[in-house]
């Protein structure tokens, strides 16, 4: 009885996070099409539902009722395992993301940052397997590019995380946010002492999620659709879901690690309600970063493959290593105040 209750409670909590994430993906797709449309001096989807809000749901229904076509020489097991392998980590990551200071988090584990790193690394297996199992040259090229890119940029992300960990002194997301509290408003957050790392993390995050301008893995103009070129219907929908869930996650991570999570930008300035921390600040920051990803997509052309490698290995990693020392010095000499 007791076990069943705990099971049900946990399942309820998982659904309370996973279902909103999936709905958020749908709304994010709509928002992407709107924002990019506006930047192209178009108006974007506006027919289905008010302001076209239901467009994404119509697309989901369309994808789900389509046939899943399996290439003749595909490895059937891996072919179907690949989309699952990419969507499960993308949803599982949300277990450790805290939404407010009151402990609204599925699992407040101490090594949350490590868990996120591990899960986002797992996601790359889905992409590699998708490219390999579908037995297509384009798909294989796309997955190889994607693997190289993800490995390179995961290092940058890891390094950027190390600087945050040095300052915060914890691997727990809640503790990292609390370490950014203080009386100087937004200048207490980690983006200021770690400004280069903030940019490195953000740009690497864009690369990690295979978004423009780092979308060589898809590269529509070169290799059609990259790793998921042979996928259709619901299998493709899963890749789509994983990509957008990862983008949303990356926006949340940047907000939490560098932008003070649910802390108010006016904290300690005694502006009444405005200075109070709350989930709305986290969602506001998430919204800003999520929109900026779309802004990047509307603005920049795709990087060439060797330029991506150069940026990762010859620019970001040296800067990251240098800034780890700087962060260590900050911490040692007490330049940055941690917490209250």
């Amino acid at each position: 009885m007791n076990d069943a209750l705990i099971f049900g409670w946990t399942l309820g909590k998982i659904l309370a996070i996973a279902v909103p994430v999936i709905i958020a993906v749908a709304m994010y797709v709509w928002w992407e099409r709107k924002v990019i449309g506006w930047m192209h001096v178009r108006i974007g989807p506006n027919k289905i539902g008010p302001f076209g809000l239901l467009q994404a749901f119509a697309d989901v229904v369309k994808l789900l009722i389509k046939e899943v076509i399996i290439p003749t020489n595909a490895n059937r097991f891996l072919y179907f395992a690949a989309p699952l392998l990419s969507v499960i980590p993308a949803l599982a990551v949300w277990a450790v993301i805290p939404f407010n200071g009151g402990g609204f988090v599925l699992a407040n584990v101490n090594a949350g940052v490590l868990y996120v790193l591990a899960m986002s690394s797992l996601g790359v297996y889905g992409i590699i397997l998708a490219g390999w199992a579908s037995n297509s040259r384009y798909a294989l090229l796309g997955s190889m590019r994607s693997a190289a890119q993800m490995i390179s940029y995961e290092i940058c992300i890891g390094m950027a995380l190390v600087t945050v960990l040095i300052l915060a002194g914890s691997l727990n997301f809640t503790a990292i946010v609390e370490a950014q509290a203080g009386g100087k408003g937004l200048f207490d957050w980690f983006w200021l002492p770690l400004l280069p790392m903030f940019l490195v993390f953000y740009i690497s995050g864009v690369a990690e999620t295979n978004r423009l301008p780092f979308d060589v893995a898809e590269g529509e103009s070169e290799i059609v659709a990259g790793f998921h070129v042979e996928y259709s219907g619901s299998a493709f929908a899963l890749f789509f879901l994983a990509e957008y869930a990862n983008m949303i996650l990356m926006s949340f991570l940047v907000s939490i690690l560098f932008m003070g999570g649910w802390l108010s930008p006016f904290q300690g300035w005694h502006l009444g309600w405005f200075s109070e921390p709350g989930w709305w600040w986290l969602f506001l920051k998430f919204f800003v970063f999520a929109t900026s990803l779309l802004w990047l997509r509307a603005t920049f052309p795709r990087y060439r493959y060797d330029q991506i490698m150069r940026l990762g290995w010859k620019v970001f990693i040296p800067i990251s290593i240098a800034w780890i020392f700087v962060a260590g010095l900050f911490r040692f000499f007490g330049v940055v105040t941690i917490g209250h």
Binding site: W38, I43, W295, A298
Partner: protein, 163 residues
Amino acid sequence: MKKVVDYLKSLLLLELAAGLWVTLKYLFKHKYTLRFPMETIPRSVRFRGLHALRRYPNGEERCIACKLCEAVCPALAITIDSAPRASDGQRRTTRYDIDLFKCIYCGFCEESCPVDSIVLTDILEYHMERRGENIITKPQLLAMGDRFEKSIAANRAQDAAYR
């Protein structure tokens, strides 16, 4: 030295910021999208759309089966048969078919017509749902002319000075 300065400049992402600024400005610009079924752009009086056969005000059809349009048609889209009309023996068409798939909407038929019978209207929104519907026949063409005579005549009148 220049190399170092360039490197530092690239680290500041100035060019990227400039690009982002451009797209940001476009985000708030007036949008050019035309909400098509509800809005249409103004159409020239010389617009060459769907065909029609006109009549005189007294109801007599204009076409005299001279077959100039059939001869001039570069796409061979027009097929005409003619015979003396049973009632008064006048030369009239018994068949006037236009294949809309062949037609290239060049307007030569209209130019060649000595009695302003075959015209191209400014209608561009039409479709076919079954095979064979691409060939429009004489009754259909005359019906088109009857239905849109007002706008056809108005467009011809506006353009008359330049013909």
